[in-house]
């Protein structure tokens, strides 16, 4: 019976690193405040392991064999992948992995009827894991990381209801399969609205983003599941906004809890809406209520 001690949803736009210094002061402030708050809460929560759900940007698998979920089981997770390095413009990192938790995750999801792929070798990390890692210095903190790369863009991919169910299975797994006393944190990495590779590459859907952040903070998961459809996310930026499904996995795991957001920034050059949420789970065992 492990304990769920931390849960957050954060964006991973590479421009948050590479174009940060060129952004207006008020935009920089939102990014900085969000990171500071997230890191402070993380340090206070002292998780032993962070399970990070983040979409793969077609960096590990071909379209002809694209998994819904891919668990990184390596003892260390190094990145970014060579080709993504200049693009993100971020430093190298090597975060501690947790093979035992990764294996328990693979085993436990299999047992619960959820197909995941798993890989012992170092995965190719693009912005998905790299940006949160360097923004929060995860590799320098005393926490182990288990990345789960999620398909949110190669059709067909799991929708909000399926992702929520995966989160519910994860909660059960944390409670029943992971060792007593283990402190577990969850991060959903992705979003907010953006359309990478599309004709609306510079489009940010402020209305959607603010609505989504409010919804996340409200803890109303019935509305979340009814309204955060793939169609709605596609309308707010095709192929990119659906990265928020990684946040839905986390919300499925923690159940209906209020969250807090640290502001919202809209900056066209980032090519992505920026905002983060953390949820109050500290000290509570995973599950609804």
């Amino acid at each position: 019976m492990a304990e769920l001690v931390y849960a957050a949803g954060i964006p991973h736009a590479p421009t948050l690193v590479g174009l940060f210094s060129r952004a207006p002061a008020e935009v920089q402030k939102v990014v900085r405040d969000s990171c500071d708050a997230l890191v402070q809460e993380l340090d206070a929560a002292r998780p032993d392991v962070l399970i990070v759900f983040a979409n793969d940007h077609l960096t590990n698998s071909r379209i002809s064999a694209y998994p819904d979920f891919l668990i990184g089981m390596a003892a260390e997770h190094s990145g970014p992948h060579e080709w993504f390095k200049p693009w993100i413009g971020c430093r190298d990192y090597s975060a501690k992995g947790d093979t035992a938790v990764a294996e328990a995750l693979f085993r436990g999801m299999t047992k619960r009827g959820i197909r995941m792929n798993a890989e012992r070798k170092n995965l190719n990390f693009d912005d998905n894991i790299s940006v949160p890692t360097v923004l929060m210095d995860l590799d320098k903190r005393p926490v182990r990381v288990v990345p789960v790369l999620q398909n949110t863009t190669v059709p067909p991919y799991p929708d909000q209801r399926r992702c929520y169910a995966v989160g519910q299975a994860l909660a059960e797994l944390i409670r029943d399969d992971l060792p007593a006393g283990l402190r577990v944190g969850l991060i959903g990495s992705g979003g907010l609205s953006h359309e990478p590779g599309g004709s609306r590459y510079y489009f940010i859907d402020e209305e959607f983003d603010r609505w989504f952040l409010d919804l996340c903070c409200s803890g109303d998961h019935r509305r979340l599941l009814d309204e955060l459809t793939i169609d709605r996310m596609e309308a707010a930026g095709s192929g990119g906004t659906s990265e928020l499904l990684a946040w839905v996995v986390v919300m499925g795991a923690i159940g209906e809890r209020p969250g807090r957001s640290f502001g919202y920034a809209i900056h066209k050059e980032f090519r992505c809406g920026i905002g983060a949420v953390s949820w109050s789970v500290n000290g509570h065992v995973a599950g609804r209520g």
Partner: protein, 99 residues
């Protein structure tokens, strides 16, 4: 909306972009002699022509995955922070028909 309406997972150009990302040598060859790299893939005539003409609109209409489209643009126009801006602008103007 609609970016995935024509999505065709069988396009060989998807594998081309994947391999270019994963293989620095292939990337070098692509820069030096693009045709010799394209020759290795079972691209349909329209698919190959769209790549040669940097016609992303046509490529997407054939069913190309837009995320790989963004990456292909970076492979062609530049992959560092500033190269990416160039790539995004080229991509958007090809898709919208505006420049």
């Amino acid at each position: 909306m609609g970016l995935f309406d024509n999505f065709d997972p069988t396009l060989a150009a998807h594998d081309l972009v994947q391999d270019l990302k994963w293989d620095p040598e292939l990337r070098q060859q692509f820069e030096k002699d693009e045709g010799s790299v394209l020759d290795r893939y079972a691209l349909r005539p329209a698919e190959r022509q769209a790549i040669e003409q940097r016609d992303f609109r046509k490529l997407y209409d054939l069913g190309f995955h837009p995320y790989l489209g963004g990456q292909l643009a970076r492979l062609i126009y530049g992959n560092d922070v500033d190269g990416a801006i160039r790539a995004v602008n080229k991509l958007v103007s090809s898709l919208t028909g505006k420049s």
